[in-house]
Symmetry: C2
Subunit: 412 residues, 2 copies
Amino acid sequence: MIEQAGRARTAAAALATASRTVKDAALVAMADALVARTAEIVEANAKDVEVGRAAGLSDAIIDRLSLNPARVAGMADGLRHMAGLPDPVGEVVRGSTLPNGLELRQIRVPFGVVGIIYEGRPNVTADAAGICLKSGNAALLRGSGSAAHSNAAIVAVLRDAVQGQGLPADAVQLLDAATRDSVKELMRARGLVDVLIPRGGASLIKTVVEESTVPVIETGVGNCHVYVDAHADLAKALAIALNSKTQRLSTCNTAESLLVHAAVADTFLPSALAAFAEAGVTVHGDPRVQAYDERVVPATEEDYATEYLSADIAVAVVESLDAAIAHIGRYSTGHTEAIVTDSVVASREFVARVDAAAIMVNASTRFTDGGEFGFGAEIGISTQKLHARGPMGLPELTSTKYVVTGDAHLRS
Amino acid sequence: MIEQAGRARTAAAALATASRTVKDAALVAMADALVARTAEIVEANAKDVEVGRAAGLSDAIIDRLSLNPARVAGMADGLRHMAGLPDPVGEVVRGSTLPNGLELRQIRVPFGVVGIIYEGRPNVTADAAGICLKSGNAALLRGSGSAAHSNAAIVAVLRDAVQGQGLPADAVQLLDAATRDSVKELMRARGLVDVLIPRGGASLIKTVVEESTVPVIETGVGNCHVYVDAHADLAKALAIALNSKTQRLSTCNTAESLLVHAAVADTFLPSALAAFAEAGVTVHGDPRVQAYDERVVPATEEDYATEYLSADIAVAVVESLDAAIAHIGRYSTGHTEAIVTDSVVASREFVARVDAAAIMVNASTRFTDGGEFGFGAEIGISTQKLHARGPMGLPELTSTKYVVTGDAHLRS
């Protein structure tokens, strides 16, 4: 790993000064190569799928692991799309001429070497490699052991393509996923690796956050709430609550809790509970919620703290906006919190006081997404406050540098 | 500490929604209170100075520790100046209307609770408290044990003033500095403390970076270089080299190494070495440098890696711009690197390829400073790439939040 990280640093120096033209050509070449060599990628993937089935992985996990020509083409399309995005490197973030005539410019520069730890979705391999390359960073990819053959095949293809465009192949490297050693080494490679992005389950993220000396950007865990205010349009509230919960069950921006202001509970909850039941969602409710529908199962403290990622939702009645904000403050993971209201006062209050990466006012929690936000590419959704918060696009994969130009300026 | 951090979180919630008017009134009240209660602060400080002298602290350290009415007034002036600065909270960093009509706004919000670990300069106590308050953050201040009486007196005054303006006194709290326990607890208080900023020596910073589970912003260590290019105006180069080294010896933006292109060594070095000798600076040079002046002492590998913070400078002759960049890449701490040149090609190359928080072109390294950059307030100089790099002003003490407003927008 250390040796690979050293090669990544060398590659990073070349990437940092590569022009957008060269980087975009490499992205297109990567896309072309994935399509041209689809057969070998799908063949390698078949081995992973076979091993996975033998190991008893669930159908859902096997589905996420599986590649076919259409999915490989999708990966290629993603890379071509990145080629069309603006280059974040070189953007002048701030600039001014100081009173003494010094010209001050704060300019985006690549981090250098980015480590990404992720689970068994091989499409992330191409995606992460592309985002890192576009932002001028060398990528150290540590995928799941379950996708080892697929990732090896994809990275081999991408490296050839990168090298074919005159950039160092070591811009994209795959780390050994056979043991956890590479994760441990990655976490201790301060000075060689500039930032580490763990994507995946809560326990992986917790481990990395606690043990890494390399700066970490935490991603992903979402216990998102929808709060239906006293001043909500209840038809809109129902549509938003259902969409937030059911549009896709297993994503981090899926709603896991519904809070209903007591003033509208009688009107809203009977129809909402029926709609959830019809959508196949189990409602875990407090006693007041249970009173509206016998299908509601009792909610425990644990329910309000759970990121279900399943057809379950915790529901509670709250006495006030303050109580809703307090409930969210207690259980939120700081990902996405939504309010449905027609009151400017209530929405201002909710926006100002709820501490989360994204606040939705009259919109589904499912919109917290780099694609939906128009970023064009997303490396994950940060739930920490340092450096990046919310969906991370290309600018979030850069640092900055101050360039100060003078004419023999001295400090006195 | 945990109990104090909990109170800081509560205070942070109030600070997050405090208006600029209220925060500025608190800053002015803090300034007024420092001046009004100068006597008790100076008296407390006298105890620290007495203990420090008895413990054999150096004159330089005693000087940094000592307060008198003029220095207290200086602290107050700093707070009044902060009141005049724009409020970073609420600034819209990015905003657009998405194709589906959703209004996307990325807005600056306070971090919440900021922990600051610093050494024996009591003026930092008022400064850090003020910067945190202005940026809407609660401050957990862990000063040096050597300044315990002074810090306790200052914080007592500041808390009274903050409370007098209707903000929670716990916006400013001093942690026990009698043992290292409070530092250890601070480093493990993830979830309670949002960011930790260690200021001080390299060993403190290394400990915090390695052991903290709370996100850290690393500050300060600077092994800064001045590179005199083949195309430099040599009179300007000499002025910049001298100013970078001697304008103040003990700061992180002081130059510690001088690199001279071989093409100008014969012309530049004799006068430069004489000028350094005259300024009382010991030159540690490679054999080619030694050949120009018998006062030059031999430089070891160690010299090029040292942040002297004293009247010493390491000097080397380099064959090319590439060699200068390579030398800097090997020994730089990523703080500030300067080139003196009249060549646009050379300066572009140096700016693009040298990896540091600040690059000076024809200017003294001493300009890397929040005050010089016009930030009005500075909490430290970050030498890491995540979140903030270079001098950190008020915006660097904030995170962001996405606010997305729609009218029953659903994801399909």
